[in-house]
């Protein structure tokens, strides 16, 4: 630390915040105790445990820990490591029985325990913690200002943001103070704990959308209007699932201090009007699609009543914004800036010496708001481990890297990696060497094998098919870095069911697991976009045709990528080539690559 006064990088809990999380852990312990004693039925306990992040999955409970807007400290990461090591441990018989059942489905990577998993919503999941130990885990999380509040259930979920929030070079304003203020407002909101369906908010303050905001129930963009005032563009009604819909703009500009009052109107009208008769039609996207302007008019009218009649009680005061903002202090600038000619030369020489280091600088290191700092991605996509999986030792090692190179802070990224937000640029060679030894420096960020995948049918009770064997097979086939660099930046997203946790709708290439007659099949979509500059306007991908069997999928992906290499113009990305030539050549190649040995349908004897 520089000087005696403590500086914060992340939101620093007050005594009130800490008491709140402890109260929540104690409340959960009481509920669990009553449940285990038979005084609280499965039915009554389910929403209570879900709103603390506890699911019951295919073989065991699953815990989802909230990582608010993706920010996590090394101290918190070490506690997550401890949870993986000491609690994510099934009984040997349970693991053996689960493995036996999985083996019956077909060959696949083995189930793993003692592991954390980074999700597309910047949270962290564990697959094997026995429910009887769940209250102990909540106490442990509370000891480092963490919790699982509203990481599931039909309520306002953990709020996600840009992995580069507060450090991005292209940022209008730091979204983290607003994300924190919204986190507090939404936590245990008495009116909004039993909404028609789950409710996800994403916020960004940058010109590049790295938070897929248009795919959320509410997407918020910090911006300045013509007068230079700070406010939000408010989008609502986006979502994936069975009916992928891109969010509509509710407000082009809402003054920043009104965001809680406005959200109250958005969520209240949804709570009163949203459908409760059909699970698949209960999201706000369906309401907005059905009601259109009538919904928007009612939100505006309700917002006006909140201001005029209620006195706008949740107007954010400048003092509160200032209080919360003070938590997010950048590290002190070095006295001697390392960004001089000498340093540039050292980096250049090092880069020329080693092509892998050059590639790492190119793909895994990004520009920072502060010229002497860099943003570094630690890749959790590699052979032998599922995308976004981290063992206890790997979590500890990442915490060590954060302490040594990033002032003790990390971010969980929306695409399931860890990001070091504050790396001094003169320390990049040292960081690279250490990260490489740990297997976390594969220079493929945003390339094909930096794919998104949900846990799928290996762990999840909802899945129709497994995601991880597909992810492993594609990773295995595309190991050559020259080939990956030649293919360029491609978003490959895999979901094991239509709930779309693997965001297949927004992948340039999307893979969706479907169940046909008890068999695993995969639907492939092309041309989806998360709304980033690379991907273009947000949109769902289009299905290439009837689904493929598990063993055909990798060949189909290869055929699609070979087609891209055939049709592309110099420098043209996969997404751009697809837009220019259309889907037909890709579809033809995909269908031509169906393997003759594989049944097209279960009536495989029909004449060709």
């Amino acid at each position: 630390m520089n000087g005696p006064s403590p500086l914060h990088r992340m939101y620093a809990y007050t005594d009130f915040d800490r008491q709140f999380v402890r109260d929540r852990a104690a409340q959960y312990r009481d509920q669990l105790t009553r449940h285990l004693a038979g005084q609280l039925s499965d039915d009554a306990f389910r929403p209570l445990r879900l709103q603390n992040g506890w699911y019951v999955q295919r073989y065991a409970p699953m815990l989802r820990v909230a990582v608010p807007y993706g920010e996590v400290s090394s101290a918190q990461l070490r506690v997550l490591a401890r949870i993986a090591r000491e609690f994510d441990q099934p009984a040997a018989e349970l693991l053996a029985q689960a493995q036996h059942q999985q083996d019956a489905i077909g060959a696949a990577p083995r189930l793993v325990a003692g592991t954390a998993h980074f999700t597309t919503r910047q949270n962290v999941q564990f697959n094997w913690i026995p429910l009887a130990r769940s209250a102990e885990v909540m106490d442990l999380l509370a000891s480092v200002d963490m919790h699982g509040i509203q990481t599931s259930g039909n309520c306002i979920r953990n709020i996600t943001s840009d992995e580069r929030a507060g450090i991005a070079a292209d940022e209008v304003a730091d979204p983290r103070p607003f994300a924190e203020i919204m986190r507090q407002w939404s936590s245990l909101h008495p009116e909004f704990a039993f909404l028609p369906r789950k409710f996800k908010i994403a916020i960004t303050g940058a010109s590049e959308d790295r938070a897929a905001t248009a795919w959320h129930d509410v997407g918020l963009h910090l911006l300045r209007n013509a007068q230079g005032d700070l406010g939000f563009r408010v989008l609502a009604g986006g979502g994936m699932g069975r009916t992928p819909i891109i969010a509509s703009v509710l407000r082009e500009f809402l003054p920043w201090d009104q965001i809680l009052n406005y959200l109250e109107a958005v969520v209240r009208v949804y709570n009163l009007w949203g459908r409760r008769d059909n699970l698949y039609k209960a999201r706000i996207k369906i309401l907005i699609k059905a009601e259109g302007q009538r919904y928007i008019d009612e939100v505006e009218a309700e917002y006006q009543r909140i201001v005029d009649q209620d006195g706008a009680p949740h107007t954010i005061t400048p003092a509160e914004l200032e209080r919360v903002s003070q938590s997010f202090q950048p590290p002190a600038k070095p006295v001697h800036s390392p960004v001089d000619h000498k340093m540039q030369r050292i980096l250049e020489v090092a880069a020329h010496d080693d092509t892998e280091f050059t590639r790492w600088l190119q793909q895994n290191v990004a520009a920072h708001r502060e010229p002497h700092l860099r943003i570094v991605t630690l890749s959790f996509k590699r052979l032998g481990q599922a995308p976004g999986d981290a063992t206890a030792d790997q979590l500890d090692a990442a915490a060590q890297l954060a302490d040594a190179f990033s002032y003790g802070e990390l971010r969980v990224s929306h695409d399931q990696n860890l990001v070091l937000p504050w790396v001094p640029c003169d320390q990049l060679p040292d960081l690279w060497r250490q990260a490489r030894k740990l297997g976390l420096a594969r220079p493929h960020t945003r390339l094909l094998t930096d794919m998104i995948a949900c846990p799928g049918g290996d762990y999840c009770a909802l899945a129709n098919a497994r995601s991880l064997p597909i992810a492993a097979a594609i990773t295995e086939r595309y190991q050559d870095l020259d080939e990956l660099f030649d293919l360029g930046e491609i978003d490959l997203h895999i979901s094991g069911c239509i709930n779309s946790c693997g965001h297949h709708h927004s992948g340039h290439i999307g893979i969706l697991g479907v169940d046909k007659d008890g068999q695993e099949w995969y639907q492939i979509t092309l041309g989806g976009s998360d709304g980033s500059v690379l991907s273009g306007l947000p949109q769902p991908g289009k299905v290439v045709g009837p689904s493929f069997s598990a063993h055909e999928v990798v060949d189909v992906i290869e055929a699609v990528l070979d087609t891209y290499r055939d049709v592309r113009q110099p420098g043209e990305t996969f997404a751009d080539a697809l837009k220019r030539v259309g889907h037909e050549p890709f579809k033809r190649a995909a269908h031509a690559s169906r393997s003759p040995a594989a049944p097209l349908t279960h009536t495989e004897h029909s004449p060709a």
């Binding site: 992340m10 709140f20 507090q184 939404s186 008495p190 009116e191």
Partner: protein
């Protein structure tokens, strides 16, 4: 601890099923509102008690209805939670503007009262305290020591 109060009643045995807002005629002075009632058109002048219904405990429309009646309409009579009312939602009900609740299925009234006092405080304003925590704190909140922040 925050002090929340809610008058708790048990389901009358004779009635059997908790009412769903329509099947049993209301007593004089009692207004039973369905979950899809247009609250802007509701007349509460001669009403002593408004009964709101939870068809399932996971159907949260009555929370918004209670809040609107209490805060927006300024209704000062009794707002009663009926239907699938369970002890673990009582705190939420008290904070949303309910003043009484009829517990379904012979639940423990004492446990219900105990659960009302489970938290020291809440972040957002509600029907009991209109102001959010940040609006009611007099002096700037004290930040606890930060997580360890080593120097690279």
């Amino acid at each position: 601890m925050t002090t929340l109060s809610l008058h708790l009643l048990s389901t009358p045995v004779a009635q059997g099923q908790p009412h769903d807002g329509a099947d049993v005629p209301a007593e004089p002075g009692v207004l039973r509102l369905p979950n899809d009632a247009d609250l802007h058109a509701v007349e509460v002048q001669q009403v002593q008690r408004i009964e709101l219904n939870f068809p399932k405990f996971t159907d949260g429309r009555a929370f918004s209805q209670a809040w609107l009646l209490r805060r927006r309409h300024g209704f000062s009579g009794d707002i009663r939670a009926c239907g699938d009312v369970r002890v673990d939602q009582l705190q939420q009900m008290a904070r949303s503007g309910f003043s009484s609740a009829v517990l379904a299925n012979a639940q423990d009234l004492a446990l219900g009262r105990q659960l009302l006092g489970h938290f020291h405080g809440f972040y957002q304003g509600d029907a009991v305290h209109g102001q959010p925590h940040f609006g009611s704190v007099q002096s700037p909140a004290v930040h606890s020591p930060p997580p360890s922040t080593p120097q690279p």
